[in-house]
């Protein structure tokens, strides 16, 4: 998966965009969002969306709500869609990088978590689904489980961050069946002996954020059959 190279505006315009983002705040976000349309030509919107996602959202979790307000203030549905698309792209890139790298870097895991939180806010938090073709969360957990502890280490914190976003919406919070199904897998994982303590903690914490306890959740029965060693005859 390659990071796409969008056409970029002149250095001068880029510098002005950087300046705007370095000085974006609650007080000026509505104006800046409106201003940007006069500053950046529509052909460079993909570049702008990528800048917001890659350079700002993935590093500056403390300003997620501010950057959401900015995207809203631009008031262009096509731009909002571009930002979401860049978010999915970046998530896929990092997941692939982490899957192929021998050792996982903590900075990439942090970026992934931040992007997960952002994705959750943009989608579930606004009553919009995460489509299977964009990101298959349940499959991601199952595959990570099959691959082992190293994969779970970055997948679980990512998934919990995404799901957390549903709290600000109405549709995807408990008892939404889509959500409960993923929580069920997480519960099943939680019950396993060999699962790392910090991952168990992430899962417990997520339940708490939904004002549930881990005991309220019905575990699935998806992972256990996978963890039983298959008989030799099957492999031959």
């Amino acid at each position: 998966m390659e990071r796409s190279h969008h056409p970029k505006p002149s250095t001068q315009i880029q510098d002005r965009v950087h300046f705007i983002f370095n000085n974006l705040s609650e007080a000026n976000v509505a104006d800046r969002g409106a201003d940007i349309k006069g500053l950046v030509e529509p052909e460079f919107y993909p570049w702008l969306a990528q800048y917001i996602v890659v350079k700002r959202v993935s590093k500056e979790a403390n300003f997620h709500l501010l950057y959401m307000d900015f995207v809203d203030a631009v008031e262009l549905p096509s731009f909002t869609a571009l930002v979401l698309q860049e978010t999915y792209n970046m998530i896929r890139i990092i997941l692939n990088e982490l899957a192929s790298a021998g050792s996982s870097s903590s900075s990439e895991r942090a970026s992934l978590k931040n992007l997960g939180a952002w994705l959750g806010l943009q989608t579930l938090g606004r009553n919009k689904p995460i489509l299977h073709r964009d990101l298959a969360l349940k499959d991601l957990v199952i595959i990570a489980f099959e691959q082992g502890p190293r994969s779970l280490l970055y997948v679980i914190p990512f998934v919990t961050k995404v799901l957390e976003g549903s709290r600000s919406g109405r549709i995807f919070r408990p008892p939404n069946p889509w959500l409960m199904a993923i929580l069920g897998i997480l519960k099943e994982l939680h019950l396993m002996q060999k699962i790392k303590l910090n991952l168990q903690f992430e899962i417990t914490l997520l339940c708490k954020k939904f004002e549930l306890t881990i005991d309220d959740i019905e575990p699935s029965n998806i992972l256990r059959p996978l963890s039983v060693p298959r008989p030799m005859s099957q492999a031959m």
Binding site: R3, H5, K8, D15, R16, H18, F19, F21, N22, N23, L24, S25, E26, A27, N28, Q50, V54, K55, R56, S58, K59, E60, N62, F63, L66, S105, S107, E108, A110, S111, N114
Partner: protein, 188 residues
């Protein structure tokens, strides 16, 4: 009294200087804000008057900034600091009133608009409680008069303050930025 200097460290902080004339300082600041990725920054001046003057000037230029200095009432200072900490504004112009270093995670850039006179002041401005291993960038605007102080402070703290390069690697101060993607993204 506890020796507070011991709890502060320059580890993880990339320290740079730009050699400027007094009248070029503001232009230099503008350039930094057009080139860097700043989560939140603290900009230090050496006097209360200069804090107010700079804050006024850069607010006019469209910066998001608050200011704080030692002649403000404690309750006002608390309010400004609290609002800055929660991210209500991006940049804080201030004089030397932090006695225990800056402990705000989001601050990834510290700018010495005026270079401090002593190593202790420098350390309190730039140093951080090293526990979290945060990355940071400290940029010092150095005038002709500051040049000996720069050397002295480097010696006393046993540290190196490098001349600012044309392009600053964002991996040095943006938490979680990989060193390579910069080229990836910016060179077509």
């Amino acid at each position: 009294e506890i020796n507070l200097m011991e709890s502060l460290t320059l580890k993880g902080v990339s320290q740079l200087y730009a050699y400027v004339e007094e009248r070029q300082k503001l232009q230099c600041l503008n350039t930094l804000f057009a080139k860097l990725e700043i989560n939140q920054s603290i900009i230090f001046c050496n006097s209360v008057q200069r804090v107010e003057l700079l804050a006024k000037k850069i607010t006019e230029l469209g910066y998001s900034c608050f200011y704080i200095h030692s002649r403000m009432q404690q309750s006002h200072r608390n309010r400004v600091f609290h609002d800055f900490r929660r991210g209500a504004c991006r940049n804080l112009v201030c004089s030397d009133l932090f006695t225990r270093g800056i402990d705000i995670q989001a601050v990834n850039v510290v700018i010495n608009f005026d270079f401090p006179k002593t190593a202790e002041t420098y350390l309190h401005r730039v140093g951080r409680a090293g526990r979290f291993g945060h990355l940071g960038l400290a940029i010092n605007l150095i005038t002709h008069e500051d040049r000996f102080n720069l050397y002295k402070i480097e010696q006393e703290l046993g540290t190196t303050i490098r001349s600012i390069p044309k392009v600053i690697d964002r991996a040095l101060y943006v938490a979680g930025a990989a060193p390579e993607p910069e080229e990836d993204l910016d060179e077509q």
